[in-house]
């Protein structure tokens, strides 16, 4: 069981785009060189902003709802797991339906694998690998109560996808609205201070 006291927090504001999370994820003995994390450069012309995507671990996961083979299970502790190998038919329904773009059906493997919160580590009280290595702690795994006190950004666990309200175990940190953002050196030089 993964402790309910601990939460996973994604804070894109802190992300430095280094892909340590991606590299470290790929090292896992269960998915062997295949990272489960996406790290995207949003629009490099406009900004150095990068953002990591790990599984949001939905309360009522859409990937599981649409799975025709009932291969995707959410354990009692709220973690949504990779597809069960004997059941998965590689149909990609999960891949197409996930609002966050998390599951991947690997060709050759013909099985959907996804971020399972490093269940092997978190069920034994360790942090997930990505949140362990993340140099800026844009990926944070910590007691929820502690994070409330520690961070100025606010956790969000509810997302409106079209008309559907999606509630998640993983939180995205909403920046303090006063935090400035500098994106264009030319504008700064011209007095945009």
């Amino acid at each position: 069981m993964v402790s309910d006291e601990y939460g996973f927090f994604i804070d894109p504001q802190r992300c430095i785009g280094c892909k340590s999370c991606v590299g470290a994820c790929g090292e896992c003995g269960t998915h062997k060189g295949r990272p489960m994390i996406h790290l995207d450069e949003l629009d490099r012309l406009e900004s150095p902003q990068t953002t990591p995507t790990v599984c949001m671990h939905c309360e009522d996961p859409i990937c599981a709802q649409v799975c025709p083979a009932d291969a995707i299970k959410r354990s009692e502790d709220g973690v949504v797991h990779s597809s069960q190998k004997p059941r998965c038919i590689g149909c990609q329904n999960c891949e197409l339906s996930c609002p966050f773009g998390v599951p991947i059906v690997f060709s050759g493997l013909e099985q959907m694998l996804k971020c399972d919160l490093c269940y092997d580590r978190t069920s034994e009280g360790l942090k997930p690998m990505c949140a362990t290595v993340c140099p800026s702690q844009a990926l944070l795994y910590a007691p929820k109560a502690q994070v409330e006190l520690m961070r100025r950004a606010k956790p969000v666990r509810e997302f409106l996808v079209g008309s559907l309200l999606v509630k998640t175990r993983t939180a995205v940190m909403l920046p303090d609205p006063e935090t400035p953002l500098h994106l264009d050196a030319a504008l700064l030089i011209e007095g945009g201070f």
């Binding site: 802190r14 090292e27 990068t50 362990t132 140099p135 800026s136 994106l183 050196a185």
Partner: protein
Amino acid sequence: MSRTPKPLAELRKTYGPHLNLAPVGGWDADPEPDRLVKTHCCFCGQQCGIQLKVKDEKVIGFEPWMEFPFNQGKLCPKGVKRYLQGNHPDRLTSALMRTDHGFAEVDWEAAMARTVNEIERIQTEHGKDAFAVLSGVSLSNEKSYLAGKFARLGLGTRNLDYNGRLCMVSAGAGNKKAFGVDRAANSWADIELADVIWVSGSNVAECSPITTDYIWRARDRGAKLIVVDPRITPLGRTADLVLPLRPGSDSALTNGILHLLQKWELLDRDFIEEHTAGFDAALEAVKDCTPEWTSKLTGLPAVAIEKAARMWGEAKTSFLLHARGIEHQSKGVENVCSCINMVLATGRIGRPGCGYATITGQGNGQGGREHGHKCDQLPGNRDIENPEHRAHICKVWGCTDAELPGKGLTAQEIMNAIHAGEIKGLLSLCFNPLVSLPDSEFTRAALEKLEFHVNLDFFLSETGQHADVILPSALHEEDEGTSTSAEGRIIKLNKAVEPPGDARADWKIMVEMARLLGKGKWFDHFTSPRAIFEELRHASKGGTADYFGVTYEKVEKSMGIFWPCPDLDHPGTPRLFEGGRFFHPDGKARFIPTPWRPPMEVVDEAYPIWLTTGRTVFHYLSGTQTRRIGFLVEQCPHPYLELHPRLADLHGIEEGDAVEITSRRGSLVLPAKVVKTIRPDTVFIPYHWPGALSANRLTARHLDPVSKIPEFKVSAVRIAKTTPDRFPEELAELRRMAFEARTDQPVLPEQVL
């Protein structure tokens, strides 16, 4: 003649760079290790703790080391994938000698005999100093110490210098002038406690990634962040104040700040009075540095300068960090001193949350420079020209003053002397000057003039390609020793595996060479790194960098000891200057006046654009290691020209277009990367690649007069759009390698081209 013995494409077939994509046995091999070895990352000055997984005497991966206090498990992508440098197809496992047909594998003894004969011949014919050593600070303290002793007593040459000359020397010189000691003033724990953090010339997120979290933890407490850089870096993006100043104008900005601190009386007069000297002269130097003057030189609006001065001046606690951006300049030392003036004027140093540090770039940049492969230093951060310092080292080493050579040339000056034919022979280790020195075609011409060049390395570096003899050395994880991090924390490196084949630790090679040169009496007792460290302890005793109280056991038990640590009961010194006590004999810090002067090269009609160079998070220095690791190459396969869309529009350049960049030294053609995060009058190129793709084809051999650091960060260039057929061949090969890294398919399909 040390030309490459074969065309580069042919050398590449044998010696790479090839990519290592997966651990030994592939991803399906059993990942359960036989043991975990606690050690540190082999790359930058952060020196993150890491555990290496060892199975069947091979390193097969890593496990975070949560308990190590500095990084608590955190690692950048280089640290995550560094284990792939082991078991690498390019690894050198036997001695090589140049022949008419390329490099041939030879017996170790034959390679050593040839090397010793050539050293003796050159030194007999041309004098001791005609043989030089260029070393580097990825080496442990033990190896750095030994390199210094080997050059001085083994070879008897004064011409020994190191790649820290391209890294730490401006900061070191500035710190010695101001504080009387060369070390970060605080451990990083004080960053978290600061209310204002000022970062000048440091792309923290990419070059010292773990420091990012320290800064964010301070920001979580409400700290303000000021970032000074011509580019908006990933850390700068969200900073409270970003000052994208013109390259080379750093001391104009800091002078302008000091001017305003005085004008607005945001000074700690008591501290200045009691604990410093020279304030009036420093003020005199900035009396005309009004916001308008500063604005004109820096290209920043006056209001931004005033805002920065206000933010810095009014802080209760603060931490100032700087790095190569201000140090890689022909006034690097002045830039450093002008930053320190801002710190001293506000009295915010030597207390919790009040600090200052340069962010040491290289793994052992700190320890390496303290213990003796810097041309002007002896162990313990001693001065090679100081008779008392020399006497102490002569006593520890058991030599006479006459046997201990004096101050030699610095790294770039050594290369200049090779080019001029004054230095005929070279031993290079842990240094790839062909990629990392400025004006790389000059460096190539110099290397081709050497009568004899022996190179110690674990991969065939671009510099090694020009050598006559190559002796395979050991990786970081194949030896033990100590290293000293950016914080001044001495840490323990542990051996995980044995070096393969004939490869062996650099210290063993130097000790053997010394014996063959008939100098064994000074080296034969070095039978282990521990034996070297024991001598280092005594040699450093009484110096500013005093390691006498440090033992391997103590370092491991405390997870690091901060020097000075003068006796065995001493706990070490995480924070320097407590109580306002500095290391000058009178205990006072010095303000160093920094009157403005421009960079050595400035833009003009012929070369109207500023060029600055630097690193990316995916590669380390000259790339000898990281350009061989699949994951890192996939993320950043080749260099590019970063430029603002306004500048791009002026030249009709779009993303990915071929652009020819030309300076007074040379030119290269790179793909454009159009970004709004750089000043429109400035372009940027990362410098990790060799040959036709080397940023250092453009940079100049202009040196700081004190530190002798080259001015990598300021050059004048012109740019012109050209056609993709002008891209160097190497670019296509790197694009193919990126495809291979992504897909594990070595051949790039035509449609991907």
